[in-house]
Amino acid sequence: MKNRSVKVDCLTRVEGEGGLEIKIKGDKVTDIQFNIFEPPRFFEAFLHGRLFTEAPDITARICGICPIAYQMSSAHAMEMACGVKVEGPLRDLRRLVYCGEWIESHALHVYMLHAPDFLGYDDAISMAKDHPDLVKQGLKLKKIGNELMILLGGREIHPINICVGGFFKVPTPKELQKMAEPLKWALKASLETVKFVSALEFPEFEQDYEFVSVNHDREYPINEGRVISNKGIDIVVTDFLEIFEEQQVKHSTSLHAVVKDRGAYHVGPLARYNLNFDKLTPLAQKAAVEAGLGRQCNNPFKSIIARAVELVFACEEALRIIDNYQMPEKPYLDVPPKAGIGHGATEAPRGLLYHKYEIDNDGVIKAARIIAPTSQNQKVIENDLAAFVPLNLDLPHDTLTWKCEQAVRNYDPCISCSCHFLKLNIKQE
């Protein structure tokens, strides 16, 4: 009986350091390990003793590509603990800067990290030689997302303008209007992106996922709402840890998150899309339908289409907010500290990001809990591979290795985040 192994010591075209090891005996997968060997980062520990106002700036350092997500989840959690709710133009500005992050992150992933897989290139650099206009379009989209983050956040990496209660400084309507033309171009480019990815070739592969995302009664989820799934979960964010738990695994410095007594779940664009299609703009819905995505999609390889559809949505949402913006009198609400516990669940580009904090009467952090989307997806990544590999054992080893890496990249994993850091090994036994 033939034994094989597929091993990727260091996964490429993902953020952070991770690897993959798969053991095969005959035609059965006997073991799969998505190894995170990025060093543990101990953010939850060193937040202890810091002031609640420092949480957005400290947690933003967890990730260079989704810092807004960390700042928003932490700000919302602290505001909940202190009994303050941010509404009106400040809330809109939060959604707007988050749109900037979705645009730059999704554009980077679709064009530079994932498209090379589908088109048969090792990386975006080699893809650029044959498809220069494609790569230039992706880079320009990313740049527009970054510009929105710079305008509202002060800079695109670890923004400095976000605070508990709002912002340190808010733009004038005139300053925001300068982004209107670039965003209109970005919207057209996003629609072309959906057309481009819809024409890619996708493996026939579907799984019965439990999709989990934030859900809001009026809007496509970005910055707040309940937490729901397609298998019956419908909770307020304060009940998050009643339903979900993290487990330690030997082969990973990152914890695995599961639905208690049930198992793996799937967060990210495909989850958001499946659970909130009715909240997309009509244009985004139309683009999705024309792309062949359907109201429900269980093929993880088509997450690239869901990401492209979310690009369309993010551009439209940004334009809507800019058109309706009225400058608030003050850039932030006062948030006097008080002893309490707060929770925040917002939708990072890669999926639901959960924060929980306990603070004392002086606003000093006594406890912190951060569950990143990539931690939540680790188990489902392994499950995907367990199902995918046996269907493709007839592929040459190098091709199978590449396909497995592509399957991991479906989730656009942010490994640094999941380690508060892919290389694939398939071992034949």
Partner: protein, 168 residues
């Protein structure tokens, strides 16, 4: 290069990582002593943004720190001799940057090498791109340059100034 071509000098680096700030410091010194027609900027972020910065310039000089502990030869081999403050010069149009020369800013970003490779394939390199790499010693958290790297600033600044002025 006395035919009116545009020149840009970019100092790159992270000012909070000790010697990684050397490119920024040299750029600031050059901005005070180079002719006005030479534009000087500093850049502390993703190397991919360089593609935008140098788009309208014919000739670009990029200054950044390079990895310590490795002597990089042009044939790609390296030995273990450390010479903090040593200056390397590369002509991006004519040669490949050694693969271990410049590290990525972070795993989210493109390195200088990747940006140059991408620009070559997109035909977005300036007509002339010269990269100066200064060997660093310490890349720990901090704002102070290490001793030998600091001592090398004056000589490196003069060397780069001379090349730019000779080309005018």
């Amino acid at each position: 290069m006395s035919d009116g071509k545009s020149i840009l000098v970019i100092g790159m680096g992270n000012p909070y990582r000790c010697d990684d700030g050397i490119g920024l410091q040299i750029a600031r010194k050059l901005s005070k002593i180079l002719p006005e027609k030479v534009k000087v900027q500093t850049h502390t972020s993703d190397a991919l943004v360089l593609m935008e910065l140098w788009q309208n310039y014919d000739c670009v000089y990029l200054i950044d720190a390079v990895n310590p502990g490795l002597r990089c030869h042009r044939n790609g081999s390296h030995d273990e001799e450390q010479v903090p403050g040593r200056l390397y010069r590369f002509d991006a149009a004519a040669e490949q940057l050694p693969p271990i020369f410049f590290t990525k800013y972070s795993t989210h970003c493109f390195s200088i090498q990747e940006t140059i490779a991408l620009c070559k394939n997109l035909e977005m390199l300036p007509e002339k791109l010269i990269i100066y790499g200064i060997e660093g010693h310490s890349f720990r958290v901090g704002t102070e340059l290490s001793g030998k790297v600091k001592q090398a600033i004056a000589g490196i600044t003069d060397c780069i100034k001379k090349e730019i002025e000779d080309s005018l």
